[in-house]
């Protein structure tokens, strides 16, 4: 019997007290490089990748990173937007301008098409986030997309904190969180059987603060609603909801004109604004760093439905 010392040679000695290495790569640079690496792996190993693009800040940063990954060539991916029909007009305009300026291809899967022909029915609370799953999965099947980039970040929510960077979905689009593939080092395994696809999350290790620091550093334009503006709002469940076609105050809820910004941008029917005076990315960085509530906690009614609302949606194939 040999001893383990013969077979596992000792690594070079290192000390906890050793001075920090003279790294020239900053934390944001490291995150950027990690994301770019992921985009290139997917471009090389998949046939029909698609980027989920909503015009929200995370998908905008994702597209910016994808452009960097392949410069000076264009982005070799289609974009897909699952449109609830309850969008902020500023965000839709941003989406369309971006697609036109960069000469990208955009597919839109519309929840309203499904409501119109009865394949989906409106929920009693009027929100549509949960209704996006079926149109998303149909679009993936119809276009035979085999890799689907999502802007989900692990710091957002406790089910997303469990997600791999390459995350397999079965032929029904389902996520099986109890049986995920091991994912070691930076060796991403994109193998999948026909009918299965892989969700890919290049921003997995970014925090909300990283995203805003990066937006500030890179001067990335965003839809105006991410910055402070005047808007008539009313308060419900501790959130500031805009008065609009999809959300009206109930009896006893008073409408006031407030200076607000959106911390996340989703379906207008379940996304709240936060009181804010931030007019630049640098202002937002200061606000986010001082915030005592998480971004989804502050702004998303759909995550409050139950203890495992996001996990349940994700298992069914949601983003």
């Amino acid at each position: 019997m040999t001893t383990v010392l013969d077979t596992f040679p000792a690594p070079p000695p290192r000390s906890l007290e050793a001075p920090l290495s003279t790294q020239t790569v900053t934390e944001l640079d490291a995150l950027e490089s990690e994301s770019i690496f992921v985009f290139r792996e997917v471009a090389a190993e998949f046939e029909r990748p698609v980027i989920l693009f909503s015009g929200g800040k995370d998908s905008i940063v994702m597209l910016h990173l994808a452009r960097k990954a392949f410069a000076p060539a264009g982005v070799p991916f289609t974009l897909l937007h699952v449109d609830t029909g309850h969008n902020f007009p500023e965000v839709l305009a941003y989406r369309d301008d971006t697609v036109a300026q960069l000469g990208l291809r955009l597919e839109v899967a519309k929840v309203e098409d499904y409501l119109a022909d009865g394949r989906l029915r409106e929920r009693s609370d009027g929100t549509r986030n949960q209704l996006q799953t079926v149109p998303l999965l149909d679009a993936i099947n119809n276009h035979r997309f085999d890799a689907v980039f999502g802007g989900g970040r692990r710091d957002e929510e406790r089910a997303r904190a469990k997600e791999r960077i390459f995350s397999l979905r079965d032929e029904f689009g389902q996520w099986d969180p109890r049986n995920q593939r091991p994912e070691l080092w930076s060796l991403y395994n994109g193998k999948h059987k026909p009918g299965e696809h892989v969700r890919v999350f290049p921003l997995s290790n970014w925090t909300e603060l990283d995203v805003w620091n990066y937006i500030a550093r890179e001067n990335i334009p965003l839809p105006s609603i991410y910055y402070a503006h005047q808007r008539p709002v009313f308060e419900r469940d501790g959130m500031l909801l805009a008065v609009g076609p999809y959300s009206q105050p109930r009896a006893g809820e008073t409408v006031t004109e407030r200076t607000v910004r959106y911390r996340t941008v989703g379906d207008m029917s379940c996304t709240g604004a936060v009181a804010s005076t931030a007019t630049t990315p640098a202002d937002v960085v200061v606000e986010v760093a001082a915030s005592e509530i998480t971004e989804r906690g502050a702004t998303r009614a759909d995550d409050r439905a139950s203890e495992a609302a996001m996990e349940d949606r994700k298992r069914e194939g949601y983003f």
């Binding site: 019997m1 040999t2 001893t3 383990v4 596992f8 000792a10 690594p11 070079p12 000695p13 290192r14 000390s15 906890l16 007290e17 050793a18 920090l20 290495s21 003279t22 790294q23 020239t24 790569v25 900053t26 934390e27 640079d29 490291a30 490089s33 290139r40 792996e41 452009r67 960097k68 990954a69 392949f70 000076p72 060539a73 264009g74 960069l102 710091d155 406790r158 469990k162 969180p177 109890r178 995920q180 091991p182 994912e183 070691l184 080092w185 060796l187 395994n189 059987k193 290790n205 925090t207 603060l209 620091n213 990066y214 005592e292 509530i293 998480t294 906690g297 203890e307 996990e311 349940d312």
Partner: protein, 432 residues
């Protein structure tokens, strides 16, 4: 406040089930004020609904099944920062059944915190996780002797466990081990020094984490640049004839003008240019840079028009690893399906995926003695030594000198499942 200029430390927790990993993580996050009001409110509500005290583990056990069973099934990643630095924390499972997830969490860690319940001492899972940390060459291992309050803060209990783990660490080649007596539940020596352990004059857990050096800087090592994707715009502009090889520098530093060899072909050429992307709202271009270091994603151009594709590795001309089609390696077997000699698998090594045959199983690590004993096959969670024959030449280094060109996955060719994590041994395979 976390800023972009902080250095980053990646840490992972390990240890047997019920040693209190998730509680430790919850305590660390809580005492670092990294848990926000809505997260605390959520844990309070759920804890109260179950009729218990504030359950720190609910902060990271995010899956329904985890909460129902009170165990951790898969890694939860948490992000927090102190005034000194930022952390990515991987809270890993303790159950033997989920060891593959612990290997996942530890593979990218700079520090692994191994917990031991002071009442139970070193268990088989402690040994397994120590072996994994040693094998993966995680730079720092912290032994947290937890629940020290439940043994009346007895110094002798702590010293006994620290000594035993110290010996195991020596056997496993773990160079940097630090032991700390803690109580995750009460908070002893996590963020603030405990008055109950007056006999311990070392640092708290957070002190150790804030001062540990992070990712080993490999920019002084020989250049290894696996090509991921060839960039050819083929547009009608200044980039009409552009041909760049994109990838992330695995180790070393690349400079314009450096002589290089492109493996596996072995062709010599030099670096004609290194490009970084420049993107604005409307334009996508590149700008030249003189140099790039390990960890940076860049695109390089070569002086000669030679055959370079995904799977090629650009290496320093003066220290090429050559290529090999046979490997001796240590593997962590992560699948329920046993491995036997003669198995045909896929190997994924840097940007190459090729067929492989297992030609020999040279032994398996016996956790009781930490010796290698004969085995006909490898079962789930076994750590074993294998020899592989590979259908394509690989530009590989030993894992001890390069953890990117020295590591690989074994993949089931039929269903795509990741079967094993592999680390190439120091003994030379047959160089071709």
């Amino acid at each position: 406040m976390g800023t972009a200029e902080h250095t980053l430390l990646r840490l992972a927790t390990a240890g047997s089930v019920d040693d209190g990993k998730s509680t430790l993580v919850g305590r660390l996050l809580h005492d670092c004020k990294a848990i926000l009001a809505d997260q605390i409110a959520h844990v309070k509500t759920v804890s109260e609904a179950r009729g218990g005290d504030f359950d720190f583990a609910l902060l990271t056990d995010g899956l329904r099944a985890e909460r129902e069973q009170g165990i951790t099934i898969d890694v939860a990643y948490r992000y927090f920062a102190t005034d000194k630095r930022s952390f990515i924390l991987a809270d890993c499972p303790g159950h033997v059944q989920y060891t593959r997830n612990t290997v996942t969490g530890a593979s990218t860690a700079d520090v692994v915190i191994i917990l031991v319940d002071a009442r139970h001492g070193v268990l088989e899972q402690t040994r397994r996780h120590l072996a994994v940390a040693g094998l993966l060459r995680v730079p720092h291992v912290v032994l947290a002797v937890n629940k020290i309050d439940l043994v009346n803060y007895d110094e002798a209990v702590y010293t006994g466990i620290a000594k035993e783990v110290g010996q195991l660490a020596d056997q496993l080649g773990i160079a940097d081990l630090r032991a700390i007596p803690v109580s995750a539940l009460v908070g002893d020596n996590i963020v603030t020094p405990s008055t109950a352990t007056a006999w311990y004059d070392g640092p708290t857990l957070l002190d150790v984490l804030e001062n540990a050096n992070g990712r080993t800087d490999t920019s002084a090592q020989p250049l290894r640049f696996p090509v991921q994707y060839v960039i050819r715009p083929q547009t009608d502009d200044e980039y009409r004839d552009y041909r760049g090889y994109s990838g992330t520098v695995a180790s070393g530093t690349v400079n314009v003008g450096d002589p290089v060899i492109v493996l596996p072909a072995g062709r010599r050429t030099s670096i004609a240019g290194i490009d970084r992307p420049v993107v604005s709202a409307t334009a996508t271009a590149v700008a030249e840079r003189p140099t790039a270091v390990a960890g940076e994603a860049v695109t390089v151009r070569l002086a000669d028009d030679i055959d370079v594709a995904r799977g090629s590795v650009i290496v320093a001309a003066e220290s090429s690893p050559g290529t090999r089609r046979e490997l001796s390696a240590t593997v962590c077997w992560l699948s329920d399906r046993p491995l036997t000699v003669g198995a045909r698998l896929l190997i994924k090594h840097t940007t190459t995926t090729a067929q492989a045959i297992v030609t020999k199983i040279a032994g398996v690590l016996d956790l009781a003695t930490l010796g290698v004993i004969d085995a006909a096959g490898l079962d789930l969670n076994d750590i074993g030594k294998v020899q592989l024959k590979i259908a394509a030449p690989l530009a590989a280094d030993p894992y001890s000198s390069n953890n990117i060109t020295g590591s690989f996955l074994l993949i089931d060719a039929h269903d795509g499942w990741t079967l094993a994590a592999g680390m190439i041994d120091d003994e030379e395979g047959e160089l071709l």
